[in-house]
């Protein structure tokens, strides 16, 4: 057992400990904090598994945006905690524990006794990389070989934001999502919110651009952009746009819309839905990704802000 394995076992143990904390602790706020820590450390596991693209996504979502989302809900639902007194009985608990242990054991068995020549699609993906002239295999799969999945994922994002907005009370419809934050002009938060976003935007564009050949891409870049936007909103420097704005709605549908248009164009000119002409593959993918990063940033930011709740005059 060499030192690298010991490190991996320690990492797995710490992550598991956080998982147990998240489930077992009594207070919801503490559980949320535990989950954020869990998300950040899972990103470390993904690096160790040599899946850096996923690590970037997990760092952005699990540690950053997802944690903030859960935390905001925990802070607002704090008063609701004592009213929930319907803990399940002993029978339910024991049978749930048995079911969970069985599931975990079955999965662990599956991991230990995997078939030995592992099935893999990596050589196929690498062999066809020349079709798009992008060197990052994950981007190739996301944007070309399984582009349908990515397009539908963008539609899911759109549906989620429609679902969130539809929960607005009648008198708030058309207003600004989320609470209005007051800016403290001499405050340190305002200072940070002025200093950090320019840096964040540069990093986001870098992560986006490097995604063609190295780990990175539109989603990871978009998540960073969204966090910078929400930071400025939280500091009170700007407000969320009212949901009736035309430019906002245009940005929200730009990504999936352009994707769909290109897909239909493939059906019209080429052979199949979403088939890119080989000469135009890279510019087309780049165009879709530029539209997508804007859509993703706007959607994630608005998902964090929540439903409109301030009544419109």
């Amino acid at each position: 057992m060499n030192i690298a394995t010991i490190f991996e076992v320690v990492l797995a143990a710490v992550v598991l400990g956080l998982g147990i904390w998240t489930i077992a602790v009594r207070e919801t706020y503490s559980a949320t904090v535990g989950f954020v820590a869990y998300g950040l450390l899972v990103a470390l596991i993904w690096v160790r598994l040599d899946a850096v693209d996923v690590a970037l996504t997990e760092a952005a979502i699990g540690g950053g945006l997802g944690g903030v989302l859960l935390l905001g809900a925990a802070a607002r639902l704090r008063d609701a905690e004592p009213t929930v007194a319907e803990a399940p009985g002993m029978v339910t608990r024991v049978s749930a524990a048995a079911l969970s242990a069985l599931t975990a054991a079955a999965l662990a068995g599956a991991i230990v006794f995997l078939p030995d020549p592992a099935p893999t699609l990596a050589p196929t993906v690498v062999a066809h990389a020349s079709a798009t002239s992008l060197a990052n295999p994950v981007t190739n799969v996301l944007m070309a070989f399984r582009a349908m999945d990515t397009m539908l994922e963008k539609v899911v994002l759109l549906l989620a934001i429609i679902g969130v907005w539809s929960l607005a009370p009648d008198n708030a419809w058309g207003g600004h999502p989320g609470p209005r934050h007051q800016a403290d002009p001499d405050g340190i938060l305002v200072f940070l919110a002025r200093l950090l976003p320019p840096v964040g935007i540069v990093v986001a564009i870098y992560i986006f651009w490097t995604g063609a050949n190295h780990p990175g891409g539109a989603f990871q870049g978009g998540a960073i952009l969204a966090s910078m936007w929400v930071l400025a909103i939280m500091a009170g420097l700007t407000d969320t746009p009212s949901i009736g704005r035309r430019w906002l709605r245009f940005v929200l549908v730009a990504g999936p819309g352009l994707f769909l248009l290109v897909g239909l164009g493939g059906l019209w000119f080429g052979t199949a839905f979403l088939a890119y002409p080989p000469a135009l593959a890279k510019p087309l993918i780049l165009g879709i990704e530029v539209a997508m990063i804007l859509t993703i940033a706007a959607t994630l930011g608005l998902l964090l802000a929540g439903a409109p709740e301030r009544s419109v005059k």
Binding site: I188, L189, L192, L195
Partner: protein, 97 residues
């Protein structure tokens, strides 16, 4: 040359790990929020800074090195701001009691 780099890496990373140790010890032992905050910022600023300093000789190119330094600067900025905010909150909580 390579030996000198390795020595620098080992000494700087060891010093960085020491500051993480000191910070954790402070978190475990100190009695109230403000002193614990003080311990935490040691791990932030010096611990990470020394780890970054130790990894600089191992960085492949100038670009990698610049990225490492900018990460440290970002964390410094964040640490300074967040500890200010936390300290202010702790102070308000005390005066309200």
């Amino acid at each position: 040359m390579s030996l000198a780099r390795d020595i620098m890496t080992i000494s700087a990373v060891s010093a960085g790990v020491f500051f993480f140790l000191a910070g954790t010890a402070g978190l475990l032992r100190f009695p109230d929020t403000l002193t614990r905050l003080h311990a935490l910022t040691k791990a932030d600023n010096l611990g990470l800074g020394l780890v970054v300093l130790g990894l600089l000789p191992q960085a492949g190119s100038l670009r990698e090195g610049l990225k490492l330094v900018s990460i440290w600067l970002l964390v410094l900025l964040a640490g300074a701001t967040v500890s200010q905010l936390i300290a202010r909150t702790a102070r308000q909580g005390e005066t309200a009691k």
